[in-house]
Symmetry: C2
Subunit: 148 residues, 2 copies
């Protein structure tokens, strides 16, 4: 993807990413897009969000190159919002949100939706930071090397 | 962690997680906490955020059980904010934000901070969703199984 024009000179990738997608509705729109939601009215029904907020967040996602607008597959007046390649690349982020939520925000035994591998029906494995040699990395094993 | 009292009945873990941490400043506070920032004044200096916003976000993070308040190690009047176990468990999420930002929000060759394995100095490996058998999963290989 071309770097969005409004991206800052901020050298921290976490900060650049947070300024684009660090927003509750934005994250839920991206989640829904992965689930196949494409139309304004379907996002609105799924999220129960005010139209003006949904319009704003969709526009920002299009400006950021995360969603693209295209005519509806069936033709007609509808337009659809679909994930771009950069948007599809948010799959690990949405999975990280999901897995943290599953681990930390549900009581033992409390039911929640699950992400499964379609081919096998098996739950997706826990996604963990790893060193180059494949060893699981904890936060205290890693350091941010800032620009000189 | 005990499930935060204000957690909704929302069955989607992505939605519960987004409602707690789907906020730019919240994500940057968590990032800084992983980098060892502990004091209000140091968060403020790092983030350049208004005091009232920083106070609000720190309070929410404490209420959510992501940060805990403790007396400063050196004693004195300061209090410090440190990641709880549930907060440390956000490491994959912060890494996912970082790695998406690195891939999508920097021009080729543009410098950015890097997360390295402290012991080896090697950059942390790309973190990818995987099936139970270790195979890399793309979004289109997975399906959300909603509650009946």
């Amino acid at each position: 993807m071309t770097k969005p024009a409004h991206t800052s000179n901020e050298p921290c990738p976490v900060a650049r990413a947070s300024s684009l997608i660090g927003d509750r509705w934005t994250l839920l729109i991206v989640r829904d897009a992965f689930d196949g939601v494409r139309r304004f009215s379907d996002f609105q029904r799924s999220l129960g969000v005010a139209r003006n907020i949904l319009s704003d967040r969709l526009r920002r996602l299009v400006d950021a190159g995360i969603l693209a607008v295209q005519p509806a597959r069936e033709g007609g007046a509808y337009q659809e919002y679909v994930l771009t390649e950069a948007g599809e690349d948010l799959f690990p982020l949405v999975l990280a949100l999901r897995q943290w939520g599953e681990r930390q925000l549900f009581s033992p035994g409390e039911a929640h939706s699950e992400l499964i591998e379609t081919a096998t029906g098996e739950p997706v494995a826990p996604m963990l930071p790893r060193a180059r040699d494949g060893k699981v990395l904890m936060a205290h094993d890693a350091t941010v090397r800032k620009l000189a």
